[in-house]
Amino acid sequence: MDWGYFKELLMGGVVKGSIYALIALGYTMVYGIIELINFAHGEIYMIGAFTALIAAGVLTVAGFPAWSILILASAAAVVWSASYGYTVEKIAYRPLRGAPRLSPLISALGMSIFLQNYVLLAQTSNFMPFKNLFPEEGFLENISEVLSATEVIIIFTSAVVMILLSLFIKYSTTGKAMRATAQDRNMAMLVGVNVDKVISATFIIGSSLAAVGAVLIASNMGQINFFIGFIVGLKAFTAAVLGGIGSIPGAMLGGLVLGCTESFGTGYVSSDYEDVFAFTLLVLILIFRPAGLLGKSDIQKV
């Protein structure tokens, strides 16, 4: 065992895992509240990446300085991703409240296909080079032996975002309303929670987190195309299930576990089967611990 190689893989896993965690949060929050696998969530993430790319492109041509491009492009990504999340919920999921469970699932899948092809037709089917939005800074040089500056920013940003989210869910009124709706929708309605608004808020927050993840990962990977949302969405969902769907700390833990599993799998076994590790892990967790690492096993009510 080479210690340096191990450390490299571990760090790679943590970086990947923090991104998965950010996107997994969107899945887990939506599932916690309306029990729907939001297949379109991966596409929201993809649209966030495209919006950031477009905004950065326009601002670069207009001659803005690097730091302001980073901030404005990220803000654009968050705003538009959140708007898409909100609109998708209104069109594809809200009319299906109370329908059999299969209907919203198929609707979500249709939405995902629709959004993918919308970007494909309106933009391009090719890979677009994504310029690293983070300016190289001197103060990050000393740790760049194992981690690049971008990777440090990824870990740091996702940690901060997740802490803020946890505090928001725990203390704010909207957060409390969300938890109440997740526990029992009818009861929440009875005590005066506007459930429609809470669901919209959930989609907006989840989509914003996906946009943050998109800006971070696209800066790190260096290229994007219309299809990136699919596989990342699938992995993020795996992370959410791994940690226990509906549980917010679970999504974070699940993301990290999944990221490390993939990183070690590709590092020590074979890089051809990167996606196979994730799915194998998913199947194993569903067989042996269907409630996930931090989830509570659900009791079916009649």
Partner: protein
């Protein structure tokens, strides 16, 4: 006035929403930006009118629901026609005669396309058991299709195995795969099945692409034998026609099997499970066993269709078994009508023939299918042809 305001709001919202993706196009290498303001105008006008339609349709749907609840709903026209024996039997005869005579008057190209339609009818009906009857969302259906195709291709390549021998074998193999995958997952909540099957489909494709010694990797397997017919020698045209009849026979077999299954005890158990799991268990239906049976039967049909596909195209490679193929089959079932045999046949014909005869349409194929899936679920979740439940009338 209020309606116009609502539409105006929707139009402005969508113009904002689609602004970055539809209007701006950047070239990050040359740092140039193209502005396409016309797109914004199209979106605005389009959404303004569609928004009226959307609200009108929603209102109509909700009215229909109310009528259904008060028991005043009328039987849809399509259903009334389908139940009328005077129309039903001549229609079957007509479609049957059309299907039987195709190779006599169509050229090879069109016969091939019709063979394709029939393969998709088989696949659609197989998936219809899983999705339509049992209500289990299987997004990796194409994996079983691949299992069948590859088992025939490999057995034929290495041992020269005969089509007619492999066909039932592949059916059993598909069922075995279905049971192996379904057993651990079907005990869980329904939605997990969607993700696990999706993952399984991807795993199968990745393995086929990367495990060169086993599946010959991305280059695929060529020169697969077409089905033999008592050793009679045939030229390419006759082979195509014969292939068509083989697939037609299998499709008819599938139609009969699925129709019979639907009205059997197990079929009614599937429908009951789909409607209410807990009530169904209380009536003494074994949930896991019944679901597993649906899953395995669906897999059997996919696997047999895979054998047919390999024999028909004589060449297979992993890209034929991508996730989009699963989606296509699902669209057939959803559009046609979940649980309805006629609907699936209609759906398969539409979805295979439209892109084939309208080439310019093929670019927009997936976006239309995606949109159609959403609209179908919102406005007409039962599909084009509503599945009929068997009814019993008591004559006094």
């Amino acid at each position: 006035m209020g309606e116009i305001l609502k539409s105006l709001k929707a139009a402005i919202w969508f113009m904002f929403l689609t602004f970055p993706i539809m209007v701006i196009k950047v070239n990050p290498i040359e740092d140039t930006v193209v502005w396409r303001w016309m797109n914004m105008a199209y979106i605005g006008v389009g959404v303004f009118f569609l928004s009226f339609l959307w609200r009108f349709m929603l209102a109509r749907r909700n009215q229909g629901k109310k009528a259904e609840e008060s028991g005043k709903a009328r039987m849809p026209i399509g259903q009334r026609i389908a139940e009328e024996p005077k129309i039903k039997y001549p229609a079957i005869a007509l479609v049957g005669a059309f299907a039987l005579t195709i190779p006599f008057w169509a050229d090879m190209y069109n016969t091939n396309i019709m063979t394709n339609v029939l393969i998709y009818v088989m696949l659609g009906l197989g998936l219809n058991i899983v999705v339509g009857l049992a209500g289990l969302l299987d997004l990796g259906y194409v994996a079983f299709y691949a299992v069948g195709a590859y088992s025939y291709a490999l057995l034929n390549h290495h041992f020269g195995a005969n089509f007619w021998v492999v066909l039932p074998m592949a059916g059993f193999l598909g069922a075995a795969f279905g049971v192996a995958l379904g057993f651990p997952v079907l005990r869980l909540r329904g939605d997990y099945l969607a993700i696990v099957t999706l993952g399984f489909g991807e795993i199968i494709r990745l393995v086929l692409e990367n495990w060169n010694e086993f599946s010959m990797g991305p280059s695929g397997i060529a020169n697969i034998d077409r089905p033999p017919f008592f050793g009679i020698k045939m030229d390419l045209f006759q082979k195509t026609d014969f292939m068509y009849y083989v697939v037609l026979a299998l499709a008819i077999l599938t139609i009969i099997a699925v129709t019979r299954l639907k009205n059997s005890r197990i079929g009614r158990a599937w429908i009951a499970l789909r409607e209410d799991e807990i009530a169904c268990q209380a009536m003494g239906v074994d949930r896991t066993k019944t679901k597993l049976m649906a899953f395995a039967l669906g897999a059997t049909w996919a696997s047999m269709a895979g054998v047919v596909f390999a024999a028909k195209s004589t060449f297979i490679n992993p890209p034929s078994f991508s996730f989009w193929e699963s989606v296509l089959i699902l669209v057939i079932v959803v559009m046609g009508g979940m649980g309805s045999v006629v609907g699936v046949i209609l759906g398969a014909s539409i979805i295979v023939l439209l892109p084939e005869y309208f080439r310019e349409f093929s670019e927009y194929r997936m976006i239309l299918f995606g949109g159609a899936m959403v609209l179908m679920m919102v406005f007409r979740p039962t599909g084009i042809v509503t599945a009929m439940r068997q009814k019993y009338t008591i004559h006094k």
